[in-house]
Symmetry: D2
Subunit: 440 residues, 4 copies
């Protein structure tokens, strides 16, 4: 998490201020529940809320106490006692520190996920808009980086939409995974705290009680969470890679938006680099990097050890802040992507119509020519076109013209039949079906 790749709202979730505020809320909700159970006086709970709500927690003071006690929760509670006064002794009764820490982490992750879900909705909206805009903008489909058959730019966007829609569903599931609360005391047996407290705090904080915690909330939940972030990062990389490819000088079918004053190079006016999507490629690697440590965090010793803690102190902010930034940046790239439909057609046509060769081949076989002969006929015309393209010859031959001029081909197929095979519409007839599946 560095300022360059951070947005304030997500950073705020991970600030000390937010953390201490959540700690306070958990403790105060706990007091409410303890008061309901008659364990502590109702007025105490009420005072704790009033004074705590009115106060600003002094982070430097808390840090100073921690330097002494070497215990962060105790440092906070000491500071809280300074604010709350006498009723402070009713705070944290029967709690263990992990109750506060683990529940807080999950609240933070839940809030982070809510931001990521907003990001995702914006990204989906942006993709959808471009998909509809370019539903029938024909471009060449490429397998292995090689021209194959026509698709549309809208289809590319529809694919991305479907993929990020799945990512959204995964994110919702990941939110469920980590939206749990543990207030179960040392080693999680509720020996010194009633399960009703956990239920009350959980409900108040928008969480569910963890069915069985062992002082800690089990880390398979967090492993799953970070794995989902990693998958989303990979999907970001996929779309970013598509843009990078489309912007290559030789392809140039789309470009990241360039602001007016922006200069790609001090000398070469054409130098507009896909730096945003290259950056997204790198950010994806960083988000994915936290999947493995999260998986390694699962096997804590016995009821708990604390090896997970340092990992999470770094990974939780870093992964969520970076992913939030990346989703927003990708949305921006999609919204402002400059698409060149003419260039798309020109690229496709650069092969002189070769993309239609399969249909001509099939038509020949349907007209009674053997498959072997058909292939030979198509190929001898195709190769002329291909060789010219390969050598970038000026005024290269056009595949349709070659076929029309080939007597053997014409014996089997009429001019109209041949021309019919060069219909781009043939390839887009099911675009609507696919759009219905994705957006319907």
């Amino acid at each position: 998490m560095i300022p360059r790749y951070s947005r304030p709202q997500m950073v705020d979730i991970w600030s000390p201020e937010t953390k201490f505020r959540i700690w306070f809320e958990i403790e105060a909700h706990g007091c409410d529940a303890l008061a309901d159970l008659g364990v502590i006086p109702k007025e105490a709970a009420s005072t704790i809320w009033d004074k705590g709500n009115a106060a600003t927690f002094d982070i430097e003071r808390i840090d100073a106490i921690e330097r002494e006690t070497k215990h962060d929760v105790i440092a906070f509670l000491t500071h809280l006692a300074e604010i709350v006064g006498e009723p402070a002794r009713f705070v944290h009764q029967g709690f263990t520190s992990s109750d506060v820490l683990d529940t807080t982490l999950n609240v933070q992750l839940m809030r982070a996920t809510d931001l990521l879900l907003e990001d995702m909705d914006k990204l989906l909206a942006a993709i959808k808009k471009r998909a509809e805009e370019h539903k029938y903008t024909v471009c060449i489909g490429r397998s292995h980086g090689i021209h194959a058959e026509p698709v549309t730019f809208g289809l590319k966007m529809a694919q991305a939409y479907a993929e990020f829609d799945r990512c959204k569903a995964r994110l919702l599931a990941a939110r469920e995974e980590i939206a749990t609360c543990a207030i179960s005391g040392a080693v999680g047996t509720f020996a010194n705290i009633d399960p009703a407290v956990e239920e009350h705090v959980a409900k108040s904080m928008g969480l569910k009680p963890e069915p069985v915690s062992t002082q800690v909330i089990p880390r398979d939940r967090h492993a799953m969470y970070f794995a989902v972030l990693g998958v989303i990062a990979s999907s970001i990389e996929r779309l970013a890679t598509e843009v990078r490819h489309l912007q290559r000088t030789e392809v140039l079918e789309a470009e990241e938006f360039f602001s007016k004053g922006q200069k790609g190079s001090s000398a070469m006016p054409h130098k507009r680099n896909p730096v945003l999507t290259e950056n997204l490629t790198g950010l994806s690697r960083i988000v994915r990097a936290f999947v493995t440590p999260a998986l390694e965090n699962v096997a804590l010793w016995h009821e708990r050890d604390i090896s997970h803690s340092s990992v999470e102190r770094m990974a939780a902010p870093d992964a969520t802040v970076t992913l939030d930034f990346a989703l927003a940046r990708l949305t921006n790239v999609v919204e402002n992507l400059v698409v060149y439909p003419e260039r798309m057609l020109a690229n496709m046509d650069a092969l002189g119509g070769l993309v239609h060769s399969q249909r001509v081949l099939l038509a020949l076989t349907q007209a009674g020519v053997s498959r072997e002969d058909s292939y030979r006929l198509v190929q001898r015309n195709a190769m002329k076109v291909w060789d010219a393209y390969q050598q970038r010859l000026p005024n290269p031959p056009v595949f349709l013209d070659e076929l029309l001029a080939d007597d053997d081909v014409r014996k089997a197929l009429s001019e109209e039949e041949i021309r019919d095979k060069f219909d781009i519409g043939y390839h887009t007839k099911h675009v609507d079906t696919i759009f219905d599946r994705v957006f319907g």
Copy 2:
């Protein structure tokens, strides 16, 4: 995937025989759909089914053809034509090879998942049985590897049950992720194949149509799938680590079952090593290893490249076969784990009752002693016990006796009040609540 860590049923899913059989079924179901659409004769489809069902595909023959054509699907289709005869020309019409390959991979993953789900059910049943058996078998809970407060062995099992129950839910979700079918032709536009064919094949194979494929089924699905296997592996590692810890010589609260003739060491009769759970720890690392390549597989170029293929040829069998083996081995470990309740109590008591110190401290404060004084009183008695334990003194002092003999303590608390704090039942009173949450 090596024989040592493989079970035949899962291995079979990844055999060439199974693969070619699925290829055939996809092609044959496709013929049915094409026949329904009137594209090919119904009798052709019928003949294809009859002859294909009757035949055994000759893998050596297919391999020989592939060596020539360097294309596995064409090799198979050529062999199929040898079996089916003339109607073979109606096979694969409008299909692209990836339609067959990707759909087959997903069928295999789906079947593999079904086996894993069976494994998971057996593991859950085994854990539940041991949980109920040892619901109230008290043992010390350990945080940081250090004695904390009492738990029960049943609670340890309940935690494992809840964790693997989550893993089962994740596995079901992962099955949904990959149970899709693509029969959409080159670059996925359905230009040469009606979407109805995809729908029919999908339904026949137990899959859902992929909303938008681009020659390939998008790999974010598989990334998510392998990530879930990785999380399950980590949960296996957690339970395996627990057993390894419990079997340590100094702890010895449980042991992996040793068959009668088995020898841990040729010389030392006590040498029974937790080799199964150590092995599970290693296998977990292997299953997790495939998460990263699966994440790297997502960002294919444009409509597809084939970089994912070699990864999946190795990772899909290796990850599922290894996880299947690991789940079965863990089930075996749990079912046959030898638990030593007396040793558990002995270990807990080895600290002379120190685990109750917190309750005595609280009782003193409730009896009006200041917190500082209470701590001092408890500590001075506790330290005698602790020092004796640390030095492994013979006939070490017992915490209860020391407290009863401490006049300052007795001024505040009666013998009965003190004895009451040494009640183990206090710590297990909510075991039932937790069991209800987990198994209820």
Copy 3:
């Protein structure tokens, strides 16, 4: 490790036959040393060598014994006793199983590394040959996928050479890491075996004694080893990616060799896909996948646990076999890569000479024009050329002509001065320097 991506010589290293032969050699060399120390009779050692050398180890028999004893080394020793007869009782004296297993693994890794080093030498030779062949084959250099300034194809090869030369040095260092031998007995104290035995076996097997083993050879060595394989895999990916980019339809500056009969597509004659380099991209991911488990293998418990074993049984063959295959495949790709120098020039010229804009700009400033004015003058001519390129206009303007026709430019620069800036040789004048650095 699957047959598709395996070569026999490397596979042989990991066969049971090879493994048992190394086990035998270690035991027999151990007997020699024990005989020298007078611990066992010299004739016994001699008989063991004679009978063992003459025998073929019966793997099925060994497996059968292991099924009984559940111990692989004991199974082998039992079988060896069947072969050797009475002197067998002198075998393995004071050894622990890990002495044999760990030393054998290192012998196998050392031999695997020797094969990889041969692979690397062949790859380096192939790259060097192409580098020299195309030392001055000019092509456009691309940053961010965008045309920048000219380089040569030979420079691309020189870069690859330097990178793989580093990889070779790393591989040599990795060989040093794992070429160690441990014959130190249970927990590594030499209590029951003289260090002289270890020294003798080490020397005989081409290894160095492990300074301090703890029953096992420390796994930081193997972690480093697999990390080096991972780095090599990434370098393979880099060169593979370069080829994939160069073969893109729009770029087409080079192509993987296509054998005469090979068909990229049944219908489209131009469809020659870079499937080998795509495959190499995937194989790289697999080799890299083993880095993390190898890192996780380091922290064994106390003097040893056996969690590393299952990881290595799979990772060691898989990583080395796959890397061997990948290096050989890459060598083949490089040797047979079809390079199109004319197309390279054509691509570079497609931008109408824009790649020289920086030099014109600098010349203008040197001629006294302010930097701002210079930029404006260059840009207004460049943009005409660029726009025509972007729109793929027929007969696009040529940058040199535009500049020559611009009065403001001509006020500062003569025709000769301008033409001089379009000299490709300017960009290649230090190719020789770089070649000297790399190949000198």
Copy 4:
């Protein structure tokens, strides 16, 4: 990189101040070289040094310029021009931004490595001291967590020393990898800059010229670098895990130092948790996390893309700062580790001398008893001892006494012969040999 796990000296290396100072030095050394070549006036170079050395770079001002230009190097150069005045136009001539950025990264990594090497030396010194102190402090060696045969605590330390000594050698090699300089201009051809400039800057900054750069320094170097950090992290985890195991309540052979006032728990005086080594376990995971993205950074497109940049902006500081902190923390743990030799003996003796069973067995066979009978004799005595241990019986039988009282044993061995097998010195006789190997 968060304050909690950071040390100021390493953090400083990654500060904006340090970065801009290195940028300046690279540019200024470049000017010297250009002046020597006669490309720019000597006085200009001299003025640049004087004014630059005297100035403090204003980071806020640079940031403000970058917000406008969206280019960090241009922003710095603009600010430098404000400081230097007219001669600023001679700065950066023929440089490309990456020349500055990549060379700076390597300078920072080199300096970071120098700090890590200092850390490593301190750690090695600390380990060596403890090794010598406890050279003959006997403790039980454990394989699989189970008592095996005696070792010494010094041997444990010697193993750690040898391992970190290897890590130091790897770190030195990693330093070599990244200590290179590139001043080769756009796409690395030296078209606009003489190689002599690179050589001068390299020498001045303590680097070697990169033999062939392609605008960027190749990232296989950095991949190797981060891999080495990952291996070191794993070695840290290994030693940390050893301490965690030794501190377990049931083992308690060593403890992390506890400062006087420190409290592990507010209630339980025995609660001293190995939190430092648990923390080191987590930090290791974080350092290792950056290995995979560094491997993914290698395959940049063509002459360069910028996807590596965001990864390195986060990973380079995070990995080095965290590792620096971890090495220092581990050194502190080792230096202050409280070792309990008596407890070590007590733990070993808790099994009533069973650790000597192998030697008794061997002695019986040497005395003419068949191996089978010997095993039976040893086992029947050992099992009594073992069962008592397993059940934690009071006054458990002692193995030596049982053997001495066994008539069948005594028929073969005299009391003296039996007692002789219980000599701990037998196991430590080669400690000196091993120490010589490691420290000699």
